[in-house]
């Protein structure tokens, strides 16, 4: 992306301030993968007061379950999965100190409010471009819940990983404003309930 904002992880408050809706971001540094199953386990550990396998403060989580790498490759196809499925787990993860999330699709009202409250940012990568996104992943290492297979937590080193800001720390929502801008239908917009 020609006009993207380079960002290194972990994220600082100053950087998050600049990431307003519609901004193209190019992430460089470490990000952690986690989907529904890994979130469920993390939250169970938190509830029991046990130590988490990774320190997620200030970190970016990427909702992805990659295909297996071919021999010698770092990772397979690795695009984002539907974020809304992770809505029920997102508030506690933000309370833990996660500052950035990459997924696809919109978030429910409760998650949007939590993103604003915790001064975090939610971005989308383009869903269904897992082959293209593969090029930005320089290393991948399973760091927790190996038995979950594709859903294990992986530590990824990324370079210029492209994403678009959808929910910013000011409460903006790109999908809502985008739909309004391009809607020519007379139909009323149904409220997104989230999960």
């Amino acid at each position: 992306m020609s006009d993207s904002t380079p960002v290194t992880t972990p994220l600082t408050d100053e950087v998050i301030d600049r990431l307003t809706i519609g901004t193209h971001v190019a992430f460089t540094g470490v990000i952690y993968t986690a989907r529904d199953a890994a979130h469920k386990r993390l939250i169970e550990l938190m509830k029991r007061g046990e130590k988490l396998p990774v320190d997620l403060r200030g970190q970016v989580i990427y909702y992805v379950g990659p295909t297996p790498p071919r021999p010698g490759a770092v990772i397979g196809s690795a695009g984002p999965t539907t974020s809304m499925r992770i809505d029920p787990y997102t508030k506690p993860i933000l309370e833990l100190g996660v500052k950035g999330i990459i997924g696809k699709g919109g978030r429910g009202p409760a998650v949007r409010a939590a993103i604003k409250e915790h001064h975090a940012v939610y971005c989308i990568a383009v869903g269904g471009t897992g082959a293209l996104l593969n090029r930005h992943i320089k290393s991948a290492e399973v760091v927790a819940f190996e038995d979950l297979g594709t859903e294990a937590i992986r530590r990824l080193e990324v370079e210029g990983f492209p994403a678009i800001v959808v929910n910013d720390c000011k409460g903006g929502d790109l999908l809502e404003s985008g739909k309004q801008q391009y809607r020519t239908s007379d139909r009323p917009i149904p409220a997104v309930r989230g999960l």
Binding site: G105, N134, R135, G178
Partner: protein, 282 residues
Amino acid sequence: MVREIEASEITEAVARLAVEATHFLPDDVKNAIRDAKQTERSPLAIQIIDEILENAEVARQRMLPLCQDTGTAVVHIEVGQDVHIDGGYLIDAINEGIRKGYGEGFLRKSIAAQPFSARKNTGDNTPGVIHTEIVPGDKVRILFMPKGGGCENMSRYQNFLPGSGKSAVVDFVCETVDLSGGNPCPPLVIGVGIGGTAEKAMTMAKHSLFRKIGSRHQDGEVAQLEDELLEAVNALGVGPQAVGGSTTALDVFVETYPTHITALPVAVNIQCHSARTKEAIL
């Protein structure tokens, strides 16, 4: 005259279809995405469309799956009534093909064995969701669709009052697309099944997704409804990845079947822009 077909031929065909379908975007889909750039009004949407097209190139050149979600293996198999399958049970042969294709092709295994409890991964993406149909002739036609979860989970079914007519269908499809937002990865291909019973309607909606983009139903009235639905959906402004835009769907396909006097079943089954299908004829 009965024609003998070896079960192993079916296994090999399914394995090959799994790999090809997940790596090579069909030309009709690629062309439709390319054409959408001409009508798309949002600059951000156009950038996304470009990335989708580039992804298809990279996937092909580097033999990487188009999408990490290589799906539930949906197989629709038409078996000619003059065919005899030799050397094994048809369904086992299909599942063996899925196992082979997903293993050797480095595809993601995404099937959880116990849906409401342990959800342990079966490890080989079996079993597939297999539909069999007995047809005239002595050929076997295998239609393969690696169906992603993001779009499949946005499926909807509703039975309307019998007199509700076309407007109920249009309203239901538009509401489904509006509520789905970016979850099913727009631009979409939308399958709609109208009539029959609940399972018939959803099966028709799914099966319509094997059609080529731009094809129209042979019944003029149904074809007109397809055009109307496509226009109505693209007026919603959802756009590629739901960032806003005029390209929400690449096409809408409708299949119908006679229904009970009390019923108007409507099913919607959505396909993502990675509208992967592949067929083989034995």
